[in-house]
C-alpha cells in the first residue's frame, strides 16, 4: 500500500502546480502587453488625434469616448442599481414577485454581451431613433452593468447588522430614515466597490457598443450625446483585425492604455474594500 501521507503531499503539490498554471498566464498576458506597449506611450499618443489611417498619431478620441460611455453608464446604472439593491436588501419579502425579480437579475447577468448589442440596436438606435450614439451605447451598457451593481450592493447592505436598523427604529426613525442615515453610510464602501466593478466591465466591453455607439474612425470628440464615438476596446479590435499593416507598437500601446484603465479601477475597488473592512467596527 502506498503511504497515504506521501499521496497527500504529492496531491497538495499537484494542486499548487495547477494553481500556478492558472495564474502564470495572467501575469504573462499583462507582462507581454506592458513590455511591448510601453514604448508607444508618450504624450502625443495619449492626447493627439489618429492620423494616416490610424497608423500614426494618438488615440485621444478613443480614450475620451470610453470615458464618456462610462460616465453615461454611471449616470443611469448607479441610481437604478443601488435602488434595486436597497429594495432587495431592505424591503423585499420572499414572495413570488421577488423570486421573479431575482431570476430576472440572474438572467440579465447572463445575457451575452453581443445580445445586449442587438437589443440596444433594436430599442435605442432604431425604435427610439437615438441613432448610433453615445446615448444609445451608454444606455445599453447601463442595463448590462445593472446586475453587477445590484448584487454587490445588496450583499454590502445585507452585511450591515440588523441591530443598526432596530436602534434607528427605537429612536423613532422611519424605515427610510434608518436606511438613509444608518445603513447606507455603513454599506457605502461595499456599494462603491460594486459600482466600480460594474463600470470597469462597461469600460472594457466591445460587443454591446459595436452597433450602438462605436465609430470606426472619427478623429474628433463627439459634440453631443447623439453622435457616435470612438472607444478604446472597439479601437483595439479595429486596429488588430480590420486594418492591414497596422504597426504592432500602436496595437500594443492601445491594449496597454485600455488594460491600465481597467486594472487601475480594479485596484481602486480592492483598496476601498480592504481599507474599510479593516476599519469596520462590526
Amino acid at each position: 500500500m502506498i503511504n497515504r501521507h506521501l499521496v497527500q503531499r504529492l496531491g497538495f503539490t499537484l494542486l499548487g502546480v495547477i494553481s500556478l498554471i492558472v495564474v502564470l498566464p495572467i501575469l504573462f498576458v499583462i507582462g507581454n502587453i506592458v513590455v511591448r506597449g510601453i514604448g508607444a506611450i508618450n504624450w502625443e499618443f495619449l492626447t493627439a488625434m489618429p492620423r494616416g489611417g490610424m497608423k500614426a498619431g494618438g488615440i485621444f478620441p478613443a480614450i475620451v469616448g470610453t470615458l464618456l460611455l462610462v460616465l453615461g453608464t454611471a449616470v443611469v446604472a448607479i441610481p437604478v442599481g443601488v435602488g434595486g439593491a436597497i429594495y432587495l436588501a431592505e424591503y423585499a419579502r420572499d414572495t413570488f414577485w421577488t423570486r421573479i425579480l431575482r431570476l430576472a437579475i440572474i438572467n440579465l447577468a447572463g445575457v451575452p454581451s453581443v445580445v445586449y448589442g442587438l437589443f440596444g440596436l433594436g430599442l435605442f438606435v432604431l425604435f427610439l431613433q437615438f441613432g448610433t450614439s453615445v446615448l444609445a451605447g451608454s444606455l445599453t451598457l447601463a442595463i448590462m452593468t445593472l446586475p453587477v451593481i445590484i448584487s454587490t450592493a445588496e450583499e454590502a447592505l445585507r452585511a450591515v447588522p440588523g441591530e443598526f436598523r432596530l436602534v434607528s427604529a427605537s429612536l423613532g426613525g422611519t424605515r427610510w430614515q434608518g436606511i438613509r442615515s444608518i445603513v447606507l453610510p455603513q454599506a457605502l464602501p461595499g456599494i462603491i466597490t460594486g459600482i466600480i466593478l460594474g463600470l470597469l466591465r462597461a469600460a472594457g466591453e466591445t460587443a454591446p457598443i459595436l452597433f450602438t455607439a462605436a465609430a470606426f474612425y472619427l478623429p474628433r470628440i463627439p459634440r453631443s450625446l447623439l453622435e457616435p464615438t470612438m472607444a478604446l476596446p472597439y479601437h483595439l479590435y479595429v486596429i488588430s483585425t480590420q486594418v492591414p499593416g497596422m504597426p504592432p507598437r500602436i496595437q500594443y500601446g492601445t491594449a496597454l492604455v485600455l488594460l491600465t484603465i481597467v486594472l487601475s479601477m480594479n485596484a481602486v475597488a480592492a483598496i476601498i474594500r480592504s481599507y474599510f473592512r479593516r476599519r469596520r467596527e462590526w
Binding site: A104, A169, T206
Partner: protein, 304 residues
Amino acid sequence: MGKPKRLSHPSHPRWGEFAIESTIRVLAFSSIGFVILIFFFLVREGFPIFWETSPENLFGTRWYPTFGLFGTLPLILGSFLVTVTAILIALPLGVATAVFVREVAPNWAREILKPMIEVLAGIPSVVLGFFGMTVVAPLVREVLGAPTGLTAFTGALILAYMALPTIISVAEDALDAVPKSYRDAGLAMGATQWQTIWRVVVPAARSGIVTAVMLGLGRAIGETMAVMMVTGNAARMPLTLDSLFRPVRTMTATIAAEMGEVAQGSVHYHALFGIGIILFVITFIINAMAAVTIFKKPRRGGLR
C-alpha cells in the same frame, strides 16, 4: 435576526416615505422590465426570419447569407464545440484551484492567488482576444503544424481562462458552505486531509460545483470578441474529429462580424436577430438552471 416591522405613524401620514419606497420599488422591478424588453426587441427584429425562409434552410448546414442560405446548424455546433471544450479545460483547473485556495494554501499564497484571479476577471475580452491572436495562435500553429493557429481549440483555450474566475469563485463559495464538522468528522475517522477533501468535502459541495460549471458555461457561450478574434470564423460543420484544430465560427462571432454590414430589415438582418433569440434562450435556460441550485438553501448541519 428578523427585520424590524414597519413603524406606523398615524399622526402624520408620511408621503415622503411613501414616495421614496415606491420609487425604490419601481427601480428594482425595472430589471424585470429590461428582461422583457430585451426579449421583445429580439423577437420583433428577429421573428420575421421564420416566415421569410423555410425551416429546412434555417436549420440547414450551410450559412452563406449572400446566396440566401441561412443554415444556423454550423454556427450552433461551432458554439457548442468551443464552449464545451473550454469547460472541459476549465473545470479541472478551476476546481483544483478552488480546493487549493480554500483548503490547502497557506495564507500568503491565498493573498496572492485571489487578487490575481480577480485581475483575470477584469481583463477585457478584446485584450485577451488580441493576446490570443498575437501570441497563442502562432504557438498553436507551431505545436500542431497546422496551416493556421486560428482554430476552435485556440478559442477554447482563451475561453477556458475567461470562464475560470466564475468557476473558481462559485466553487470556492460552495466549499466554504460545507460545515467544518464534516471536515472534523473525516479527520477524526483517521483519514488524511487529502482523503477528507476528495471523499467528504468536495462531494458535499457537489451542487455548488455544478452551479459553477453552469455559470461558466453560460459565460463562455455568450463570449464574443475574444472568440471572434481567434477562432478563424469559417462557417463549416464541425463534424470530423480534427474539427477542434480547424477554424470554426460561433453564433456570437457571426452576429458581431456581420451585423455592421447588413441592411436594416433585410432577410440577413432578421437572421442575425434570429441567432440572437437562440442565444438568449440558451443562456436563459442555463442561468435559470443555475439559479434553481442557488435558491436551494445550502445544507448547514452542525457547527461551521
